[in-house]
Amino acid sequence: MIRMKIFAMLLFVIAGSYGCANDTSNDVHKRIIYNAHGLRVITSFSDRKQQTISLLYGNALALQSAKTGIHDKGEVFELVTFKQANNKYWYGSYINGAVQSIELVTSYAADKNAIAFKYKIPQGQVTGNADIRIKGITSHRALLFP
């Protein structure tokens, strides 16, 4: 009888610990910071009707071309579009929410005198053809970061 009781208690403890190990309640309180893998911000913009907020990141070459308007091979642009959310701690402010899409544009030398671009959508869905998207993404001017 005592053995039965000990076994039942043991089962209860194991079941409890398994439940805790798989407890996802903590995940709902987690806050995700977008990992740009070392790329720097070129600019940010939003669309109140589409309810999106975007951050355009780039490598050093992309940042330079966004200042001068002159492109070179090796540029990397990453446009991250987030869903726009209400900032629950400040009425009057929208903040970036979940990632809606990620677009990647890279430049390469098509020949000695011409720079061409490749376009990818690593995450989400985007409307508009690749050429229009490339033109839009690479034509943003860099913000001033004092």
């Binding site: 987690k30 806050r31 910071i33 109140r48 701690y89 400040w90 903040i95 929410g97 001017r141």
Partner: protein, 331 residues
């Protein structure tokens, strides 16, 4: 016979206790009377420049805010008796120093807007009117309709100017600065409270970006490693010492089709966490550097308190407004 002696004994006990209590009661009474002279009750000064708002809005302010935030405070008899009067005195003095509806129109239009948005956000966060006040003054509580009226009011005083040509021109002018780096200052700007500008923020991670319709600006918000680790591990109440946040603020160009683009650079705002240096603001030191010249904001270190007073709204998130949303709030 036994009953009679017991009653007699009890009577004598009560009367002897009464005798002992009289001096204590007397001392207390003298004490209460004496403390009435320690502090003069709050006075109502003249109403010189009252807030200029519609009757519907003013009525809400009068019922919920005026007893503390105006020169038209109405006191009950117990508000005038020390020590209650001391608490009332303190609360009213602090409230009037933050903003006073009786002199509100002396503030610039921008300052009025800032304070009004802060008021609405204080209300939405449940911080105002104070619970300690509404317990005794239940009529001061705001209804959902009152809150909607106030929200609509602040939006109405901050109208959007679509395709603002002056903003577009400023943004174009700024592009010249981006290419010509000769204007960059080598001196590190320092705020009056000792908070220094941090040029290295550009190498930090972006924790969020915001687009605001209250003051028509947008922000790119950076956090150092300590901040990023604290947010990711959920250790934000409180943020650890060494946390630093930099908000880069730009004007915005708003189009009727909903598109919002950054205009010219406006200012940089910094928060650094140091419990020993800034004990009166929960360890947060604030700095604001205006314009491309990064001119430090504030005449004295006291501006830190003004910043902190507003950030109290975000006590749920360690006094930081714009940290990434929790997973449960992502849609």
């Amino acid at each position: 016979m036994l009953g009679y002696s017991l009653v007699k004994k009890l009577r004598s006990m009560v009367s002897s206790k009464k005798l002992r209590l009289w001096p204590i009661a007397g001392i207390l009474l003298v004490g209460i009377i004496s403390i009435q002279f320690i502090q003069v009750p709050v006075q109502n000064d003249k109403v010189t420049h009252p807030i200029n708002a519609s009757e519907e809005v003013a009525k809400i302010f009068r019922k919920a805010c005026y007893d503390c935030h105006s020169n038209e405070s109405k006191f009950n008899w117990y508000d005038k008796v020390a020590p209650v009067s001391w608490l009332v005195n303190h609360d009213v003095k602090v409230a009037r120093s933050r903003f006073n509806f009786s002199t509100f129109d002396t503030l610039s239009a921008t300052d009025q807007q800032v304070r009004l948005w802060e008021m609405v956000n204080m209300v939405l966060a449940g911080k105002m009117p104070l619970n300690s006040y509404t317990i005794l003054h239940p009529e001061a509580k705001l209804t959902p309709h009152d809150v909607e009226v106030l929200k609509n009011y602040v939006v109405s005083i901050s109208p959007t100017r679509y395709h603002d040509s002056s903003q577009i021109k400023s943004a174009e002018e700024e592009q010249k600065v981006l290419v010509d780096k000769s204007t960059a200052s080598k001196n590190i700007a320092v705020a009056p409270n000792g908070v220094r500008f941090i040029p290295d923020y550009k190498n930090w991670e972006v924790i969020s970006t915001t687009s605001r319709f209250d003051n028509h600006t947008m922000r790119v918000i950076y956090g150092n490693k300590v901040t990023v680790n604290a947010i990711q591990s959920g250790r934000i109440k409180p943020f650890p010492d060494g946390a630093a946040i930099v908000k880069v603020v730009y004007n915005i160009i708003e189009e009727k089709n909903g598109e919002v683009y950054p205009g010219a650079f406006n200012n940089i705002q910094i928060m650094i966490k140091d419990e020993k240096r800034f004990p009166e603001s929960k360890g947060w030191g604030f700095g604001r550097f205006n314009g491309k010249g990064l001119k430090p904001y504030g005449e004295t270190a006291a501006f830190n308190t003004t910043c902190y007073n507003c950030h109290k709204i975000a006590d749920e998130t360690g006094y930081v407004f714009s940290i990434p949303l929790e997973n449960k709030d992502l849609k």
